[in-house]
Assembly symmetry: C2
Homo-oligomer: 329 residues x 2
C-alpha cells in the first residue's frame, strides 16, 4: 500500500466541478494529493474557486486541516483544459448522469493522459460495466461513489465493472484508506450498490405498514431515529447481531421473514408527491409539511449535525477498532 | 397533559428488577416519579440496590441528574411485597417472557392496586392483545416497550392491544414526554412493532446479497454505518426523502422494489451460528471473530459511545424541532 509520503506524489484529476466534484477535489487535497480540476462547464469554472474555498473553510472550522488553507490551495490547479490531467494516475469523473456526455468526457480524459491512468466515475445511476464499455482499455475503469460532503463522510463505495482488473480496483481501495474513508468494495456491479438496496427494503416495509394503517410516517421515522439511530454509527447490523448474542436470530428471522411485504407496487402516497410537484424541504412541499422557516431550519440544523456526527464517528471508526484490536487484516 | 409538578405526584411501580427493570426504575426516578420496585425473585431484590446505584452514577457522569443521587434514592422503595404498589397509577411489568408467569404477576398487581391502575408490559415477544386477555378490566392494559439503557435512550414504543382504551394509551403517551422520550404510538398490536419489522426487511435483503456473493458481512455493515449512520439519528427515512427532494423517489422505488429479495428462507449462515453455539461478543463466537480482549473492547467502547450519541441526539431531538419550528401538534 502507498504510504502518506507516496500519496503526495500521486496526482489525481477531477472532471466536473459542480457541488460534488468540488467537494471531492477538497477531499483529495486534504489527503495530500496534488489535484487537477477540470470544469467542462464555464459556469462551474467560474464558481469552483469560491466554492472550494468555502468548503476548505468548512473543513477548517471542523478541525480537519493539518495545514493552512493557502497551502492546500497551492496543490490545486483548475482549468477548462484537459491537458492539465497529463500526469494524473487517477481521474475521477463527476459530470451529469447522461451516458453520451460521459462518453465524450472519457475520450477527452484518455486523450490527455497516459494509457495506464485509472479512470473512475462517481455515478450512482449508470452501471459501471456499461460505462467502461465506452472506453479504451476498460480494465482500468473503476466505480468510486462518494457521499456528500465528500471531505467529511467516511463512506465510499468502490465498484468493479465486468471488465475491471482486480489490481486497479485494489489500488483504489488501498488508496481510499489514505482519504480517511472506510470504503466498501463491490466485487459485482449490482444496481443501487449495497446501501441503497438495503434502504429500499426498509422503504418497502415501512410504506406497506403505513398503507395498512399500522404505523404513521412520523412513527416510522421516530422508531428508526431513536432505535437504529442509537447504535447505527457505532456498529453495523451484523455486528449488532453479535452484540445481542446472535444465536436467537435464526428463530426470529424464520418467524418474521414470512410477515414482510413482498409487493412491487409503489404506494399511492409517492404518486401524490409527483402530482403535487413536491420537492420536500426544497419547495416546502413533501411527505411532511414545512413553512419556509422550517425548511430553512431543517437544512441549517442538518449542516450543524453533519459536523457533530462526523466528529463522533471519528472517535469510533472501524479502523480504530481494527488497529487497536487487530481483528481484521 | 400532566405538568412536571403533577408527575411528582404520580406514583409508578416496576415489577421485575433485573437489568431492564432496574434501568426503567431509574428512568422513572429521573422523571420525578416516586417509584415502587417489586422484585419477585430473591436474587433480584438482593442485587437491585447496587445495580440501581451504579445506574444512577452512570447518569451522574453523563450529566443527566438535576438533584443528588441521595435525593433520587429517597423517592425509591424496593420490596418483594406487592402491597407497596397500593397507590401506583401505573405499574410496569418487566418479568421473564413466559405467559404463565406474567399472568401470576398481573394477578398480584391487581390484588394490590386500585381498579383503575394502568398496567403495562415491556414485552417484545408476546402480543399485547394476548396478555391483556389475562387480566380483569383489560382496557387499562398498555404495551410500553423500552430500550436499554432505559434512562438514556429516547426510544419508547407504546402499543394498544385490541381491548386497550384510547384514553389510557393516550395518558401513557403524554406522560412519556415527561420521561425525556420520543415515543411512538402503535394503534395496532403488530408483531415486531415498527422498528423490528423495518430491521428484518434490512436483514433479509442484506443476507440475500451476501448469499449471492454480491457483498460481504463487513461491507454491509460498513455501508450502513457510514451512509445511513451519518444521518439516521438526525432524521428518519421519510424526512430524508423530503430532504433529498422527494419527487424522484417514485421512479426509484418503482425500479428497485422488483429487485428486492422476497424469500422466506433464513440463509445457512444463521443455522451455522446455532450449530456453533455462537453467542457473539458474549462468548467470542459469532458472525465475526473475536478474541476475549476484542469482545471486551467492543462492549466497553459501545458503553462509551452510548453516552456520546445520547448527548448528540439530545442536541437534535424531534421535540426541539417541533417546539422551535411549530411544525407538529
Amino acid at each position: 500500500m502507498a504510504n502518506n509520503n507516496e500519496v503526495e506524489h500521486i496526482e489525481v484529476g477531477v472532471v466536473g466541478l459542480g457541488l460534488m466534484g468540488s467537494s471531492i477535489a477538497v477531499a483529495l487535497l486534504l489527503a495530500g494529493h496534488p489535484v487537477k480540476g477540470v470544469a467542462p462547464l464555464a459556469d462551474d469554472l467560474k464558481d469552483a474557486p469560491q466554492r472550494i474555498l468555502a468548503q476548505l473553510k468548512h473543513c477548517e472550522e471542523t478541525g480537519l486541516l493539518k495545514k493552512s488553507i493557502e497551502e492546500y490551495l497551492m496543490n490545486l490547479t483548475l482549468s477548462d483544459d484537459y491537458t492539465i490531467l497529463k500526469n494524473c494516475q487517477l481521474v475521477q469523473e463527476c459530470v451529469i448522469e447522461i451516458k453520451e456526455i460521459k462518453a465524450q468526457v472519457y475520450q477527452k480524459i484518455i486523450n490527455a493522459t497516459a494509457e495506464n491512468t485509472v479512470i473512475s466515475s462517481n455515478t450512482s445511476a449508470i452501471p459501471i460495466s456499461l460505462l467502461q464499455d465506452m472506453i479504451d482499455r476498460p480494465s482500468r475503469f473503476v466505480g468510486i461513489h462518494w457521499a456528500e460532503p465528500a471531505y467529511m463522510t467516511r463512506f465510499l463505495e468502490i465498484t468493479k465493472g465486468k471488465q475491471t482488473a482486480d489490481s486497479h480496483a485494489q489500488w483504489v481501495f488501498n488508496l481510499a484508506h489514505h482519504w480517511n474513508k472506510e470504503p466498501t468494495f463491490l466485487q459485482k456491479d449490482i444496481r443501487g450498490f449495497v446501501t441503497n438496496r438495503l434502504m429500499y427494503a426498509v422503504y418497502r416495509e415501512a410504506l406497506h405498514l403505513i398503507t395498512q394503517g399500522e404505523t404513521s410516517l412520523e412513527d416510522a421515522d421516530k422508531a428508526f431515529r431513536y432505535d437504529a439511530g442509537s447504535w447505527m454509527v457505532f456498529m453495523g447490523i451484523f455486528r449488532r447481531m453479535d452484540y445481542l448474542g446472535v444465536r436467537d436470530f435464526h428463530e426470529i428471522l424464520k418467524n418474521f421473514f414470512p410477515l414482510l411485504n413482498n409487493g412491487d407496487e409503489v404506494p399511492e402516497v409517492m404518486q401524490k408527491m409527483i402530482k403535487q410537484e413536491a420537492r420536500g424541504t426544497q419547495n416546502c412541499a413533501g411527505l411532511f409539511s414545512y413553512t419556509q422557516e422550517e425548511a430553512r431550519q431543517w437544512n441549517k440544523s442538518f449542516a450543524l449535525f453533519n459536523k457533530d456526527i462526523f466528529k463522533l464517528a471519528q472517535k469510533y471508526p472501524e479502523s480504530y477498532q481494527r488497529d487497536n484490536y487487530g481483528e481484521r487484516k
